[in-house]
Structure formats: structure tokens, C-alpha cells
């Protein structure tokens, strides 16, 4: 295998359960060392993809190529892929050490090699001293690390993670997210992470694949997805956004000229995409709106009045009525210092063309 060929190639996979189509002709390449997250609501096909990669489901059509080898019909015990289960699936009758060694024994490693690998992985995941405990005696975070250690121990080419943070409380989750990312960096392993939590996806991933109804909605870096969502679904699913119903008048390069309640606005589309004239939706993130008493130097500027504000600590959430655009309401985040100077008089609201993505509906 050369360096340019992907570690995993998903080639035209379709899978139905009864009359429900879970995956619809999915194509995807995953490079060695990537942290890829499949993000979407339940029933979007993300878990089915994971289970197909793990060997727990066989696709109706299409192939899975792992490391140059067609593994589509290989059972889970015969592919070099391990999984961290949603409920961790630790074996309750085995100690932590026995759980982690399970995969190593089945790989046919000798006693000394198992011991060495066990020590290495337990130190790596800070599980030293827990070897003789049973899973029932561990906290949620510890169990999660044991599950990770067990899956990493046999040195899989690809690690699958099925919403492994779902069972942790909010405080621990943030910490584990950082840990996971750091573990992935240090091991140079390819992680395939499945979640419905957009924040998790944004903080950890190199690349996010947003799924909806068995199809890929958008595939890109967290920044691309956040600031340049390609569809209304992605814009609404990731983060908070203002959606503007506008009418496309024409294009200038990658800029879209739109009419919004009599105001002319400039938006942005992905390079090479052309929008026809007619109705379209534009998305502008809440923190991308700027405020001032005088007209800002941005490409887009409208006038409005603050009609509601919520103090959130370091920043404020504002509701602004845009008076010269049909009394539309825009939501915005501003830092508290700026927000408190605005008062209830007329204010200018401005944003760059680049901050506003024009969407496929």
C-alpha cells in the first residue's frame, strides 16, 4: 500500500433494514491517523456505518476496503478493527487486567508479550493499580478508560467509538474529550467516532461527516462545517445560527448578491458552486454579527434596535429587530462590555460576506 491510498475505503455501501434504508450508496475514504466523526441525529445511518466497519452488519451492496483488503464479509473476529462500545461492554466476571488481555490472548501472544503490552497500555491510560479490580468496582470514567485500553491493546488499524461519552456526566465529558483527542494524537491511530453531540464532534475531530437519512450531508473540517455549512440541515444541527430567507440576484465570483427585505446582502458559497436566481436561505452565526453606533465598514450592514438581552457572564445574548428589513429578528452574541453600551436606541449591525453561508435547502 502506498502512502496516498486511504486506510479505509467505503465503496458504494447500501444497507436496508426491512423497508427502512439505513445507508444510501455511501462513499467515503478515511486516511491513516485521521480522527473522523460521524455526526447526525438517531437513525441517520451513523451507527450502521460503524457496525458495518466492525463487521457486525453486512451491507446489501458495496464494499469495505481496509488496508487494501476487501473485508466486507469478514466476521468481527477476523478483522483488524476494534470497538469501544456505548455501554463499554466490559466483561463483569473478569478483572480489569483480564478484560484488557482478552484480545491479546486471542491474538495468540505469549504470556510475556501479553504482560508487557498490558503494562504498557495500562500505564498509558493511567490504569496502574486497577488491574485486579472488577468493572463493577470502577467509576464511569475508569470503565471508559478500561474499554479504551481493551480496544487499543491488540493494536488495531482502526478504532471504532460508538458514542462512548454518552454515559458520562457533563463535567467529566469535557475532560475525557481532551484525553481522547490526546490519546489519538499520541497513538497515531485512526479513530472513527460516532456521536449525535455536535459539541463533541467539533472539539475532537479532524474531520466531521454529517449524516442525515442515510446520506452524507456534508464532509469537512469542524471549521468548514461551522462557518460554511452547505445545507440548512448542517447549519441548524451544528451550533446556533440565524437563517435568513433571501432572494438571489446574481453571483460575483464566490460571492452571492441577495435581496433580503429590500436590503442588498453579500453571502458566500463554496468555490465553484453556482446559485440560480430565486429564493435561498443564508446562515449567519450568532457571534459573527458586529454592533456599533455608526455604520460599520463591513460588506453587510443593517439598522435595528435591541429588544432583548440575556447576561451570560463573559458575553450577552441579544435579540435585535431589524427595522429596515421587515422587522426580522436576528439573534447575536456580543461581549458584555459592548452589549451593555448599546442601550435601546437604533444600532448598526454588520457582518462580512464571508461569514454568511448561502445554503442548499
Amino acid at each position: 500500500m502506498t502512502d496516498t491510498s486511504p486506510l479505509v475505503r467505503i465503496d458504494g455501501i447500501t444497507k436496508s433494514f426491512g423497508s427502512t434504508v439505513a445507508l444510501h450508496d455511501l462513499d467515503l475514504d478515511i486516511a491513516q491517523g485521521e480522527f473522523v466523526t460521524f455526526l447526525g441525529p438517531s437513525g441517520c445511518g451513523k451507527s450502521t456505518t460503524l457496525r458495518i466497519l466492525g463487521g457486525f452488519e453486512t451491507p446489501d451492496k458495496g464494499r469495505v476496503i481496509l488496508d487494501g483488503q476487501d473485508v466486507t464479509r469478514l466476521p468481527p473476529d477476523r478483522r483488524n478493527v476494534n470497538m469501544v462500545f456505548q455501554d463499554y461492554a466490559l466483561f463483569p466476571h473478569m478483572t480489569v487486567a483480564q478484560n484488557i488481555a482478552f484480545g491479546l490472548e486471542l491474538k495468540g501472544l505469549g504470556k510475556a508479550a501479553i504482560k508487557a503490552r498490558l503494562d504498557e497500555i495500562m500505564t498509558f491510560l493511567e490504569l496502574d493499580g486497577y488491574g485486579d479490580r472488577y468493572p463493577g468496582q470502577l467509576s464511569g470514567g475508569q470503565r471508559q478508560r478500561v474499554a479504551l485500553a481493551r480496544a487499543l491493546a491488540p493494536d488495531p488499524a482502526l478504532l471504532l467509538l460508538d458514542e462512548p461519552l454518552g454515559a458520562l456526566d457533563a463535567k467529566l465529558r469535557g475532560q475525557v474529550q481532551k484525553e481522547l483527542k490526546s490519546i489519538q494524537r499520541r497513538t497515531h491511530k485512526t479513530f472513527f467516532f460516532v456521536t449525535h453531540d455536535q459539541e463533541e464532534a467539533l472539539t475532537m475531530s479532524d474531520r466531521i461527516v454529517v449524516m442525515n437519512k442515510g446520506r452524507v450531508e456534508q464532509d469537512g473540517t469542524p471549521e468548514e462545517l461551522y462557518f460554511h455549512p452547505a445545507s440548512r440541515f448542517v447549519a441548524e444541527f451544528i451550533g446556533e445560527t440565524n437563517l435568513l430567507n433571501a432572494t438571489v440576484r446574481g453571483m460575483e465570483g464566490n460571492d452571492v448578491i441577495m435581496d433580503w427585505h429590500g436590503q442588498t446582502l453579500r453571502g458566500h458559497v463554496a468555490p465553484g458552486r453556482k446559485l440560480p436566481q430565486g429564493p435561498a436561505t443564508a446562515s449567519i452565526r450568532l457571534e459573527r454579527l458586529g454592533f456599533g453606533k455608526v455604520r460599520p465598514e463591513t460588506e453587510n450592514a443593517v439598522q435595528g434596535r435591541v429588544i432583548g438581552s440575556t447576561f451570560l457572564g463573559s458575553r450577552m445574548a441579544l435579540d435585535v429587530r431589524v427595522e429596515n428589513a421587515g422587522d426580522a429578528i436576528l439573534k447575536a452574541y456580543v461581549d458584555t462590555a459592548t452589549g451593555s453600551t448599546l442601550g435601546d436606541g437604533p444600532v448598526w449591525i454588520g457582518w462580512d460576506a464571508d461569514s454568511m453561508a448561502v445554503l442548499n435547502d
Binding site: G54, G55, F56, P75, P76, D77, V81, N82, M83, F85, Q86, D87, A89, L90, F91, P92, H93, F102, G103, L106, K107, Y134, P135, G136, R150, A151, P154
Partner: protein, 263 residues
């Protein structure tokens, strides 16, 4: 609940307890009476009946015979019952309800009916009455309890455990031996104790299918026909203590195991 009704309920409860335990207590008491006739008053006490029990070769050998039958029939029922349970719980197949129904039916057939049926069937097949026939009948009767207990336990085994084992390189056989079976141990132990007690206690099947050698219940029955004597009380008391001890120990043991193996 009002005070009055609470007192009423506890009276009913204690009446029930008396109803259950007074006969047992009387039976135990009479085993210590120094007289051949059962009944009050008791003028003097003795342990002779107990020493008599352990000196009586027929009683000791019947005891051993009953235990041997209980152990063998339990082994057979556990093997067959666990196998059926795993088959039924594993995956859906055509005829699954039929297999389940057939596996559970022996528990519902009245003892006397199944005993007669076994007797006729055994004669038809040319099977001699005796240990083999009794073990066979007990095993068939006990299989349903094993199936139900093991299936109940199996249904609580998270599917992800089996998948995790597969994922880590185990083939289905290794998964069964290293994940499923250890998970079933508490259920299998519990079912074993139950089977042992059922078999030890059985009279009807042992009576109809027995040869010349009596099991303990059959021996007691034979002795009863020649008249009540405190010796029978002594035998019964020993049997009661042994079975109750096993039952209580097993209950505590399986309870602890169930608690330990919670994922």
C-alpha cells in the same frame, strides 16, 4: 392500613406459620420420644432413634441411592436444559415456540400421569426398572426448570458483551465458553440445587420406575405401611435438615453471585 386491620393481618400470618410449622415441629419432637408409639404425653427422651437410623443399613443405602440419582439426573437436566435455553435464546428459527413448549411441558404434566407414561414407555423399550429409568424420568421432569432459569439469565446478558468478545477476536465457540457460560454460572448453580432437591424429594416417579432398591422416599413409604414409629420421624428429620441446609446455602450463594456479576 388501620391499626385493627394490621393486627388482623399479622394474626392471619402467624396462623399460617403455625399451620405450616407445627406438623414439622411435632414430627421432629416425636423423633426424640423414648417409646414406640407416637403421641403425647412424652415421658422420657432418647437419641436411640437417630443412632438407629445411622445403624440401619437399608436407610443409609437408600439415602446414598437417592443422592446418586439426584446428582446424575441433575447433571443430565443441566446439560440438556442449558443447551435448549441457549438454542432458544440465541436466534429466532421456525418452530421455536414448539421447541419451547415441548421443553417446558414436562413440568406441567401431573406426576402420576408422567410416571405411568414413563413406566409404559420403559417397558415398551425394554428398559429395566431401576436407577437408569429413575434418572431418566427425573431428568425429563427437571429440564423445564433449567430451561426457564437459564433463559431468564440469558435474556439479561447484554448483546454488546458478545459483540465485544467477537470484536476482540473470539470465534462463537470461544464467546460461549468464556463469556456466556461464566455469565450463566449463578443460574446453573441455582437450577442445579433446585433439581437436586426435586429429585431427592420425588416419590411417584421413583416408585413407578424403581427396581428392588428403594430411594429414601420409597423406603419411608414402605416403612410407614408397617406402622408409624419414631424411627421414621428421625429419618425425616435428618432428610429435612440436609435439604433445608442445601436450599438455604444455595439461595444465599446464588444471590451473592448475581450481585457480584452485575455489569
Amino acid at each position: 392500613m388501620t391499626r385493627g386491620s394490621r393486627i388482623f393481618m399479622s394474626c392471619i400470618y402467624w396462623a399460617f406459620v403455625l399451620y405450616v410449622f407445627v406438623p414439622l415441629a411435632l414430627m421432629i419432637l416425636m423423633g426424640f420420644k423414648d417409646s414406640k408409639f407416637i403421641g403425647f404425653p412424652i415421658r422420657s427422651w432418647t437419641l436411640d432413634w437417630y443412632t438407629g437410623v445411622f445403624d440401619d443399613g437399608a436407610v443409609v443405602s437408600a439415602f446414598g441411592y437417592s443422592i446418586a440419582i439426584a446428582v446424575l439426573s441433575t447433571l443430565v437436566s443441566i446439560l440438556v436444559g442449558t443447551w435448549i435455553a441457549v438454542l432458544l435464546e440465541g436466534r429466532k428459527f421456525v418452530g421455536r415456540p414448539v421447541v419451547f413448549g415441548l421443553a417446558v411441558m414436562p413440568a406441567l404434566v401431573p406426576g402420576i400421569i408422567s410416571a405411568i407414561a414413563f413406566r409404559i414407555y420403559a417397558r415398551g423399550l425394554g428398559i429395566e426398572p431401576g436407577m437408569g429409568a429413575i434418572v431418566w424420568a427425573h431428568a425429563v421432569h427437571n429440564v423445564p426448570f433449567v430451561v426457564l432459569v437459564v433463559m431468564a439469565r440469558l435474556s439479561t446478558l447484554p448483546k454488546s458483551q458478545l459483540e465485544a468478545a467477537r470484536d476482540l477476536g473470539a470465534d462463537p465457540m470461544v464467546v460461549f465458553l468464556r463469556i456466556t457460560l461464566p455469565y450463566l454460572v449463578p443460574a446453573i448453580l441455582g437450577a442445579s440445587i433446585f433439581c437436586l432437591l426435586l429429585s431427592f424429594d420425588d416419590f411417584v416417579r421413583s416408585f413407578f420406575l424403581g427396581g428392588y432398591e428403594p430411594t429414601l422416599p420409597v423406603l419411608i413409604f414402605a416403612k410407614l405401611r408397617s406402622g408409624m414409629s419414631p424411627e421414621i420421624n428421625a429419618i425425616a428429620t435428618v432428610a429435612l435438615i440436609v435439604t433445608a441446609a442445601i436450599g438455604i446455602w444455595a439461595e444465599r450463594f446464588t444471590r451473592r453471585m448475581n450481585k457480584d456479576s452485575k455489569p
